[in-house]
């Protein structure tokens, strides 16, 4: 698949502290990508390199197949974790200013801003000063400022921190819509459960190093323990052997671990043969959080 962003062996050190240590990954075009890792793992350092705020000490970054350079900020939309606006500026002027710094002409900026203000039903905010808005309102403005220039790639650093549930939903649905329109989106967060449902691909960073990467479903398959949950009526008689262990048994809910995940059919058949009525059956896949913790604990340096 074509990639919108490609990092090759990127290194960045601050005062001898290696913040980013030979990180490589690719972000497929038009996908939602998760940049995951605990606090201080080097996510923000990586993002600052991608957004051309800082430069990598070594390694290369390719954006749309070109080496990262001067004109690229205009195709990137970046919402930092710590966000702010000029308090004394009027909403309209502020958005025009930020849009024009991204290379939009004045009329194009106006048009795009009007589109977004209408979409969020806040056209009457144009002449309001930023300081007059509530925090939730400012978050909306911040989001508009990030996407107003129709970036090819949208980078959101902890986008939901400090967002109220309404704005969280609003932005989630906007992100999905933008993705439909072809925008590639990078999420950076330490809260894995938040992105599990959204992201197709992830990269896991720990202590500046790339720990794990790939398609979320593939990773889950790779790390799964072949656990199955069966809901049924009655007390089945199951003999444990090296191919099957009962993990828990509880009020008609049975959790078993199989040596081979293809053996699930066999298990079900034997249960059915015993005459039990099966009401539910599902494979338990590990959460990204569990996988991450497992990976970090496996890291001998930790």
């Amino acid at each position: 698949m074509e990639s919108v962003l490609k990092l090759e062996e990127v290194v960045k050190a601050y005062n001898k502290h290696l913040a980013v240590d030979r990180v490589s990954f690719e972000v497929p075009k038009g996908s939602i990508f998760g940049l995951l890792g605990p606090n201080g793992a080097g996510k923000t350092s990586l993002i600052r390199i991608i957004t051309t705020i800082t430069r990598a000490d070594s390694g290369t970054v390719f954006l749309n197949g070109e080496k990262l350079g001067g004109r690229h900020p205009e195709v990137i939309g970046y919402m930092p974790e710590e966000r702010g606006l000029y308090k004394k500026m009027k909403v309209g002027d502020h958005l025009i200013y930020l849009a024009r710094l991204k290379g939009l002409s004045k009329s194009a900026a106006k048009e795009a801003i009007n589109y977004w203000l209408e979409k969020f039903e806040i056209t009457d905010w144009w002449d309001k000063k930023v300081e007059e808005l509530s925090k939730g309102m400012q978050q909306k403005i911040q989001f508009i400022a990030t996407v107003v220039h129709q970036p090819d790639i949208l980078i959101l650093d902890e986008p939901f921190s400090g967002l109220d549930p309404i704005n969280t939903n609003l932005i989630k649905s906007e992100i999905h819509r933008l993705r439909e329109e072809g925008t590639s989106i990078i999420f950076s967060t330490h809260r894995m459960e938040q992105v599990e449902e959204i992201c197709e691909n992830i990269v896991l960073i720990n202590q500046g190093k790339n720990v794990l990467q790939g398609n979320v479903q593939d990773i889950k398959q790779q790390f799964k323990d072949n656990l199955f949950e069966i809901q049924l009526e009655g007390q089945p008689v199951l003999a444990e052997n090296e191919n099957m262990q009962i993990v828990s048994r509880n009020n008609g809910t049975l959790v078993v671990q199989l040596q081979d995940d293809r053996a699930s059919n066999q298990l079900l058949r034997s249960l059915m043969d015993q005459g039990h009525h099966i009401t539910g059956f599902r494979e338990i896949l590990p959460s990204l959080n569990e996988i991450f913790i497992r990976q970090v604990e496996a890291d001998p340096k930790f």
Binding site: N15, R48, T51, T52, I53, T54, R55, D57, P73, E74, I76, Y78, M79, P80, E82, R83, G84, L85, Y86, K87, K88, M89, Y97, L98, R100, L101, K102, A145
Partner: protein, 439 residues
């Protein structure tokens, strides 16, 4: 470049449109005008407290000529005795008694006269009386010693130095050039000093605000930190120029207006100084004429150009330093002071040297300070009216521009790191480290 212009435009417009800016820009000249009106009224005010003074002339110095009255002082020579007057001062409607004892020694250098009154006489009354009596004693001595008045008047001569250039081709200078130059120089120096502080601090505060506001990270994902810093400095500098330009027009025109409406007699102000009665009107007119000639002699064109050059140079030099310091600061005020101090010290030093430069514009301190780029923006404008040698001006301007570029470069190196650095104690050493660290 386009982005830089956008930044400059925003920095300029948001400040110029601010109510506080409009108010200070308009109110300051109004305050000046009001001040002039009040000062005018104060000086125009003459004491309504009329003092009646009885004079007992034991020396007989008033026989030829008497003593002239003033609006607030009325004299009358009395024949009654001191004792009688002292006892019945009020019934005779007097406020004080002036006794002039007989003059025994015509060659004495000092004489004592006595003034009897309930209240100690005011200073201006005292000086007025002693001046008048002094004149009478002089006349008395001339008469008694049988001196020739014409010869005496011939003794009273004055020397004034008329500065002439070595090269006879150049125009001669007026004698007031020095004084006028000093006034203009001080004025320019003070403007420069205030500009550096007020607008430099404005840059610093604004950088700090952007950092604590966290808008800066959004900004530098669109523009280079250098563009943001430079745009801010240029924008604020334009605000400063706007304000000074408005004042340069408003203050003199309001001053003129005040003079036209209230028509204060400015000569009244001059005559208030003690001993100024001796200035004869011809000489005053002559002084005014000399001042006008001196003002006319100044090359205003090159002076204004150079002033602007030093204004911009000084402003860029110091405000880039202020921007660097602002980027390194957190909200901790104590820390901010320890970082701004190294910048304020040279500004203060330059300010004091400026006063020396005005007094003796060609002293080696003045010359070297006006070439040294940290001092030159404040010291050189103070010397400009004295026409310093061309080579000094050229050297000073070249050094200033060079240092300016160097400081902007240094500051931008510190700035780009500082604005992304949070919660870190910063001192001069860390700033030095940032200077050489990579992007």
């Amino acid at each position: 470049m386009e982005k830089l212009l956008l930044i400059i435009r925003r920095e300029y417009l948001t400040r110029v449109k601010k109510r506080s800016f409009i108010l200070t820009t308009i109110l300051t000249p109004l305050a000046f005008a009001l001040f002039m009106v009040i000062v005018g009224f104060i000086f125009a005010y003459e004491s309504d407290d009329v003092q009646r003074v009885a004079v007992i002339d034991e020396a007989g110095i008033l026989e030829s000529g008497g003593i002239s009255n003033e609006t607030s002082l009325i004299f009358s020579v009395e024949d009654r005795s001191l004792e009688e007057l002292r006892a019945n001062l009020e019934s005779y409607d007097y406020d004080g008694i002036l006794r002039i004892p007989p003059i025994t020694n015509l060659y004495a250098k000092s004489y004592t006269i006595y003034y009897y009154s309930e209240k100690t006489p005011a200073l201006d009354v005292e000086t007025l009386i002693s001046q008048k009596i002094n004149k009478r004693i002089e006349a008395y001595k001339i008469q008694k010693l049988e001196l020739d008045i014409q010869q005496l008047e011939a003794l009273d001569s004055r020397v004034s130095i008329n500065p002439e250039p070595l090269d006879p081709e150049t125009e001669t200078r007026s004698k007031m050039t020095g004084a006028v130059g000093a006034v203009i120089g001080t004025f320019m120096g003070i403007i420069m000093y205030m500009t550096v502080f007020i607008y430099g601090m404005m840059v610093m505060r604004s950088v700090m605000e952007e950092k604590t506001n966290r808008i800066v990270e959004v900004m530098i994902s669109s523009v280079r930190p250098f563009q943001l810093m430079l745009g801010k400095i240029v924008g604020v500098g334009a605000v400063g120029l706007t304000q000074i330009a408005i004042w340069a027009i408003l203050i003199p025109s309001l001053g003129l207006l005040v003079n036209l409406i209230f028509g204060f007699d400015t000569s009244g102000m001059e005559s208030m100084g003690p001993g100024s009665q001796n200035i004869d009107p011809d000489e005053a007119a002559n002084t005014v004429q000399q001042v006008m000639i001196a003002l006319g002699e100044i090359n205003w064109g090159s002076m204004i150009v150079l002033f602007l050059l030093y204004f911009l140079g000084g402003f860029f030099l110091y405000s880039s330093l202020f921007a660097a310091v602002g980027s390194a600061m957190s909200d901790d005020l104590g820390e901010s002071q320890s970082l701004t101090l190294p910048i304020t010290i040279p500004v203060l030093m330059a300010f004091y040297i400026m006063f020396v430069a005005v007094q003796s514009p060609n002293s080696s301190l003045a010359v070297w300070a006006s070439i040294f780029p940290l001092f030159s923006p404040i010291v050189m404008p103070a010397r400009l009216a004295f026409e310093p040698p061309i080579w000094e001006v050229v050297l000073s301007v070249v050094l200033l521009i060079g240092t300016c570029l160097l400081f902007i470069w240094i500051s931008s190196r510190i700035y780009r790191i500082g604005i992304l650095m949070y919660g870190k104690k910063v001192n001069i050493k860390t700033l030095g480290k940032w200077l050489f660290s990579r992007d």
